[in-house]
Amino acid sequence: MTQRVSIVGIGSTRFGPQPGKGIVQLAVEAAEAAIRESGIERERIGALYFGNFISGPLTGQEVLAGIVADHLGLANIPCTKVEGACASGGIAFRHAKLAVESRQCDAALVVGAEKMTQASTEMITAALNCAMDNLSDGVSGLTFPGLFGMAWRLYEQRYGLTRAQVSAVVRKNKANGLLNPLAQMGRYLTDDEIEQSPFICDPMRLFDCCPTSDGAAALVLAADELIETGGAVPVRVLASAQTRGAARIAGHSDLCSFDATVAAAHLAFKEAGIDRSDIDVVELHDCFSIAEILDSEDLGFMPRGHGAHWAKEGRTAVGGDLPINPSGGLLAKGHPVGATGVGQIYETVLQLRGDHQNLVKDAAFGLTHNLGGTGVACTVNILGRYDA
């Protein structure tokens, strides 16, 4: 018999440049907040899963899981760092959920962290390209923005995408970021400002890309019997699915879709036993503006080719029929790679508690989507209000 799992404590640093704070300090800050909020005694925490992509090359520090557990004064529990590029945080969450669900422990800690802004652009670009299959795509000179630039061009031809539709995604997420105290770059942008920013990978421009960030987020997961009355409002973990997609661009059946997202969404909805129409709020992997359109279609929220209209028509705004990235998403909240998947869950927990600064009213079910590499790793998680 498996245990039901809930998120009983959350913590997060602000996302964005944090000079003077190292990756361990950021991780400890988020984790300590999550543990305190949960009210769970540290000796009850039986496992730590740490999502991080690239701390070795960028900070010279590895074995982060054990080091952070040491700082937190946790017992000599299994401490595991997991890496799946931009999906590292989501994968860490899934493993912690499995540990509690399968009764390996009654409570587990998930931490995601990345420290990037101290490094030179060259170092960061080189580090990010570690997430590409460097036997094939890497040697061509392709970059991650490049992959999405190609997807954009194909989508444009196939569905008649306009610059204004994509800009609507950028404007929405950047404006959402203004209401999120943790966000790196909330801002009101005009179409002109977006369209006049420099090309990065045509047709993609600077404001279509998420910024480099520092940050950490943490969650305490627990079995029902550990939930304290009077503690933080728990949120149920209804599903956590992880899948693999093609490691190489040439292996993708379509540039406008990621097989790993389609498969993970299918598995997650099956596990949760709810429908797409039940989802009230979504935090998805908008590493680039066009990605939000592709992801929302891959998740099955609208037919192919329709994702582009939704932002322009306000349907994905807070108050629309499917609010997407009320946190500001990666575009505005920032993308400290290993922290992102955990941060998405942090934001969704606040929504389901009714306690978010950019609140989707009466949200009962939320979905998070975290995609890594060129679509090689994906997690989709579904959370539910405790009483829903």
Binding site: T125, L135, D137, S140, G141, T143, L154, D202, A250, L255
Partner: protein
């Protein structure tokens, strides 16, 4: 481009000696039947452009080359490759016919075939 020249342009790929699968490689096992009997063969370098972009902020290793163009091409030989694209015309769009005109670091370089 003269017909003769088009026939001369070839691209090296992996051919599974067991099941006949073609793959751009490099890899050591056939992605379909997992056989290790992979031989390099040349296939015609003509194909159709799936999409392309211009890399304006190259990774460190390619800094001196930027900006350059990257493409995904569907070869007539029925396999898809990530490649370079050279001198695209302003109006080039997915579906354009392209031809391999050489390699760079073993990566094929394609050029638009004049309509």
């Amino acid at each position: 481009m003269p017909k003769r020249e088009i026939e001369d342009c070839q691209i090296n790929v992996l051919h599974c000696e067991n099941c006949g699968t073609l793959d751009p490689g490099p890899r050591s096992l056939c992605p379909k039947c997992h056989s290790a009997e992979l031989a390099e063969i040349a296939v015609p370098g003509a194909g159709t452009l799936l999409s392309w972009t211009t890399i304006r902020r190259p990774p460190t290793a390619f800094r001196e080359e930027g900006p350059y163009h990257i493409a995904v091409v569907d070869l007539d030989a029925k396999l898809r490759v990530t490649a370079r694209l050279t001198a695209p015309s302003p109006g080039i769009a997915p579906g354009a016919r392209v031809l391999c005109v050489g390699t760079r670091n073993d990566v094929p370089v394609f050029q638009e075939i004049d309509a």
